[in-house]
Amino acid sequence: MADVMALKPGVGGQAAPNYLTASRGLKSWLFTLDHKRIGVMYLASVLAAFLIGGVFAMLIRMELLTPGPTLMSAEAYNKAFTLHGVVMIFLFIIPSIPAALGNFALPLMLGAKDVAFPRLNLASYWLYLAGALMGVVAMVSGGIDTGWTFYTPYSSSTGGAVSLMTLAAFVLGFSSIFTGINFIATIHKLRAPGMTWFRMPLFAWSMYATAIIQILATPVIGITLLLLVMERVFNVGIFDPKLGGDPVLFQHFFWFYSHPAVYIMILPGMAVISEVIPCFSKKPIFGYKAVAYSSVAIALVSFLVWGHHMYVSGQTPVASAIFSFLTFLVAIPSAVKVFNWLATMYRGSISFQAPMLYAIAFLLLFAIGGLTGIVLGTLSVDVHLHDTYFVVAHFHYVMMGGTVIAFLAGLHYWWPKMFGRMYSEKWARISAALVFVGFNLTFFAQFLVGSRGMPRRYYNYLEEFQPLHIVSTVGSWVLAAGFFLMAGYLYASLRKPIDAPANPWGATGLEWQTSSPPSVHNFDHVPVVTTEAYAYATETEETTVGAR
């Protein structure tokens, strides 16, 4: 953040002050109510979390290069994969798109001056910091080895800083709830004159759907984690059979949040893709209403599928069957979105700048993630694949190939708006290629390790699995190289004077109508919306040949 604060105004310091330069000093950032600054602080924080989670990932891959001990003990390995999961999920992915990019872009896209509750927004960031701090303290004071799922009775009996880490997740949950409340109120109340619900960018629709889940599901994980702490600290029997509890109850509670939470993570990814593809295809989105409603449909059905994580947990076959059926239903709106994005490109004018490269990568990787999700939703096949590397590969294709790649698309898309600087397009393309290749090497191999029967969370493994693990580990190095390159050219762009035009991509959203970076108050005049979103087409409905 120090670098962000050091940003100089444009050539010769003559440009009007923007939100980055309007005030100076650490205090002006930590006590800011400006959604853009809060977004930038969130961005710096989630990128730091991504680095920490990424270091754990690299350690895990190094350890798995050979069966048996490679560079750490089994205890250290168990802590490494737990911390990788906890940091990536609670500190990186969940806040990545909504709290970092969304905080910055959403009010601008709606033509608003700020979010509805700026103080709540700042409180959300402070809670995030507090939760992150607790997490770091838990990491250095013994760490935890429960897996990010905290399954009981293992988690109620193992040593380490489990209570502190669950309290950290509890606090982070409130940070997420506050963001959700803010977005719902902002979307309801602060849209620019003329921006009806169906003229909103689809980004706003997806954020709205995300916020519904954040508000309704997050309290459940909060309660569950508190119950776990009560069991550990006060010996109240809730989940541990030794104290008269039921361990499977914990799994129900946990997945009642954590499955919808998967959609807290992927819906914002879909939100970004719905912005990027029309812009770089110069075509209006195909099936606006289908994309908008499918976000809401995903949000609602996502509450009813948690039991598909529990086919072999001992729940009744009837319950498993119902959960399997509902799981298949949730696949449909996701498939519809993919078809809509593809149809948007049809007869477009497609350019290949960095945000679009990531959107293309998203389509391919999310397709694999979605199709393997169908495989896992199928009852009898899942019994074989459950808790194997196949599941690890599947969720990395959805969460990293989907959400993280979409986050990168959004980061490259809004970067010029956020900081007023263009990054090197050439290096961005090379880095995108490295990330794409490295990702597939790392995780495709894991599908095969898993379907051949290697369980996940294994420190030691049979020698027959080693060749595929070598591929995966080498892939992680390529992936890391891509990310270091990205850090390099993004940092380099910040060292230059402001050079980004207001609208570098020729996009139609309201955020592109103000300067880059925007002024403190976003717009000089309240924008008035008179057309639908994504008015990219050069022809009209009447002049388009073969439109129907």
Binding site: P247, K282, V312, M345, L363, V383, R456, T544
Partner: protein, 314 residues
């Protein structure tokens, strides 16, 4: 083609149930490949055909096509409903065990599998079952959740404390099949492995009578080295001096062992024997009293072999 693909994608088929799961798996695989190629193909075609040629490119106004949208909703919907029923059908085959199945009790604990047969005999990490006979496992855990996973049988079931869960299978491939713990259970989770031996009726009955002749021709110390792994001692004890959940075996024999109550004891053959059969009797200083008893689970020669093996770790 299917055999070749299976050798890449899946383990061998040890039950006929595995074959029916694989049929569905391959259907899903081909369907997945088809849809991926469809998406990737269209994407590639559009990216090439409609790449930007200049700033004056004209783009049409196409925002809906209801017929197309209904088609691409209904086709996937009918496909997944079909898949659901297929998956449900095979799942129910595995959920309901035949009435005449032979029952074997399974007890899981960190980090061993214990099996008890109808005649009262017990074995560790080694399950012997007859060929082509339905076998039902009635399972429970003594500590945390474990999961009984046999990839070649395509079966998996969590094993819970304070609750019985069950699994059944009819093995059709003689030989050894691997058993894994699939639910994370702590330090030695990945070493909580077992082997399932599928034998013809005669060999199986012989094994039940005699406990098998494993290690018959081996010297004691060598047999002990084998048991050290197959009985799961290695999940807590090392032989290279590094600390595990329990003390390392290296250099322990003949040494003065410090106990929790402050006294010391000479680690002779009787001390080691007692530590295997009644581990709670003398707790080594600095370690938790977590070792389960092996009384009744090891034959006399197996105990001798382990003592001999530990003696050899100088």
């Amino acid at each position: 083609m299917r055999d070749w693909l299976r050798s890449i994608l899946l383990p061998a088929e040890g039950t006929s149930y595995a074959g029916s799961v694989d049929s569905l798996f391959f259907f899903l695989f081909y369907m997945g490949v088809f849809f991926f190629l469809l998406i990737a193909g269209l994407l590639t075609y559009f990216l090439i055909r409609y790449r930007r040629r200049g700033p004056d490119d004209r783009t049409p106004y196409i925002v809906k096509n209801h017929k197309l949208e209904v088609v691409w909703t209904l086709i996937p919907l009918s496909l997944v409903i079909f898949i659901f029923f297929w998956g449900f059908h095979t799942y129910m085959d595995a959920a309901v065990s035949p009435g005449d199945a032979m029952e074997i009790r399974v007890t899981a604990r960190k980090w061993v599998w214990e099996f008890e047969y109808p005649n009262g005999i017990r074995s560790l990490n080694e399950l012997h079952v007859p060929l082509n006979k339905p076998v039902k496992l009635l399972m429970t855990s003594e500590d945390v959740i474990h999961s009984f996973y046999v990839p070649t049988f395509r079966i998996k079931q969590d094993v819970l404390p304070n609750t019985y869960t069950q699994l059944w299978f009819t093995a059709k491939e003689p030989g050894m099949h691997r058993l894994f713990c699939a639910e994370y259970c702590g330090t030695s989770h990945s070493d909580m492995l077992g082997r399932i031996f599928v034998d013809d009726e005669k060999t199986y009955n012989e094994w039940l009578e005699t406990g098998g002749d494993e290690g018959k021709d081996m010297p004691l110390a060598e047999f002990g080295a084998m048991l050290f792994k197959s009985r799961g001692c290695n999940t807590c004890h090392t032989i290279d001096g590094t600390r595990g959940e329990g003390p390392s075996f290296r250099g322990v024999f003949g040494s003065q062992v410090k106990l929790q109550d402050g006294s010391t004891v000479l680690a002779d053959e009787n001390y080691i024997r007692e530590s295997i059969l009644r581990p709670q009797a003398k707790i080594v200083a600095g370690y938790q009293p977590i070792m389960p008893t092996f009384e009744g689970m090891l034959r006399e020669r197996e105990i001798n072999a382990l003592v001999e093996f530990i003696k050899a770790q100088r």
